[in-house]
């Protein structure tokens, strides 16, 4: 079972590396969305400082959403998803492997990129660890919740709008805690409380969403 888990992950990562443009696109999107804020709000460093953490989180959420479109759709279309469903290993587990791989190729790069954006919004260097930590604790929940939505819409062609509508309300708690904690980090407060909440949400998502994803995949294939 463990072997199958890593095999699925390895295949996902190999495919992701070979389709590197799909991999890079959400990251570029992340940066572009962050660029929009100073252009729209003006270059007043105080305002940018204030909105920075929230803007980074909103951009991370949207970038994750963008990347989720293809999470199951390619597999649905080329028949790989059927093969996973018919595999002797539990589907819940195999799909979790896919989701983990998804986080590794989108969530983790967002975390890695975030320090640059912290500086771009004129926040102090001391804010970097806080922002990085909140993204690290929160983005797994985004990938996990996202996998449910992606599985529900896998068989639909023009589903990106629907996917956003399904997912954004569900991800609001992650956004609230993440953005707020990043904000507190920027102003030098302790972020232990919201960080625990984020971690808790991610853990809860880790235990519950794989079952929902598996159920949703079965429904999509029916």
């Amino acid at each position: 079972m463990i072997r199958a888990f890593f095999m699925v992950m390895r295949r996902e990562l190999t495919v992701a590396v070979r389709r590197w443009s799909d991999l890079v696109m959400p990251l570029v999107f992340f940066i572009i969305v962050c660029t929009l804020f100073p252009l729209a709000v003006g270059q007043d460093i105080e305002i940018l400082n204030d909105i920075g953490p929230g803007a980074i989180w909103v951009a991370a959420l949207l970038a994750t959403l963008l990347s989720l479109n293809t999470l199951f759709r390619d597999d649905f279309e080329d028949g790989s998803l059927e093969q996973l469903v018919l595999d002797k290993e539990p589907l819940t587990f195999l799909l979790l492997a896919k989701t983990v791989a998804h986080w590794l190729v989108t969530g983790l790069p967002l975390v890695v990129l975030s320090p640059v954006l912290v500086l771009a919004f004129g926040m102090p260097v001391t804010a970097i660890p806080g922002v990085v930590l909140t993204l690290l604790a929160g983005t797994p929940a985004l990938s996990l919740l996202g996998s449910v939505g992606a599985a529900l819409t896998a068989g639909l062609r023009q589903a990106s709008g629907l996917l956003a509508l399904l997912l954004l309300p569900l991800t609001i708690p992650v956004l609230i805690f993440g953005a707020r904690a990043a904000d507190m980090a920027a102003s030098g407060e302790s972020i232990v409380g919201p960080l625990y909440m984020l971690g808790g949400i991610s853990m809860l998502a880790l235990t519950l969403t794989p079952f929902a994803t598996a159920a949703a995949v079965r429904v999509s294939l029916d």
Binding site: D78, S80, L221
Partner: protein, 211 residues
């Protein structure tokens, strides 16, 4: 290996698409060493039947038994013995044939001699190309290679001969008969002659739908 007991059975199946009844009252069974070929006009529910029998779709009514146990309660055992190739080939276009086959083999926990299979299916020359660059027939062969190398007892194939050339069809027929002679089970939907030894084959002709 005791294969004599393998048995897939279905009772009173009714298949629906939307609010149209495709087929109803289907009964049948498949035992070791037997092949069942499903025929019928387009849209009569061949694919739906195939997908229902391997558990991908749910029947509207009726039940499907594997080894005498309803399949939704016997999933691990059914899946451990099942190799399925549907309309879509189940290959990742960015991976080569070899990589795709290795992935399938590791998931099954099984190591087969890929080269022999690839040679038989005349895929050796293109085994390291991404499958998206292969022709439709070559991709079909690669999908069949996954089934043939799976070591599974029950093969469920949807239109296996699509896109294959005459030599490929003949070769596949030989493999089918070999599989059956070892006590395997074969279920397929096909328009063409199935190439299977008539003694072992049952044909299920699904009627067209009267609108």
């Amino acid at each position: 290996m005791d294969t004599a007991s393998y048995r897939l059975e279905w009772r009173e199946l009714a298949l629906w698409r939307g609010d149209r009844c495709l087929q109803s009252g289907l009964n049948g069974q498949l035992e070791a060493g037997q092949a069942l070929t499903v025929r019928g006009p387009n849209g009569c529910g061949k694919t739906t039947l195939i997908r229902t029998l391997c558990g991908l779709s749910q029947p509207e009514t009726g039940e499907i038994l594997w080894q005498g146990i309803a399949i939704h309660r016997n999933r691990p055992d059914l899946h451990a013995n099942l190799a399925y190739a549907g309309h879509s080939n189940g290959l990742k276009g960015d991976l080569s044939t070899r990589e795709n086959l290795r992935f399938a083999a590791v998931l099954r926990g099984r190591h087969t001699n890929q080269n022999e299979l690839l040679h038989g299916l005349r895929l050796t020359d293109c085994a390291d190309l991404p499958t998206r660059n292969l022709s439709a027939g070559q991709r079909r062969r690669a999908a069949l290679a996954r089934v043939l190398g799976s070591g599974a007892q029950l093969w469920i194939l949807d239109e296996p001969f699509t896109n294959l050339d005459a030599a490929g069809i003949e070769w596949l027929g030989i493999r089918f008969n070999h599989h059956l002679s070892l006590g395997g089970l074969l279920l397929m939907a096909a328009h063409q002659a199935s190439q299977v030894d008539p003694d072992r084959e049952t044909v299920l002709d699904l009627p067209g739908i009267n609108a």
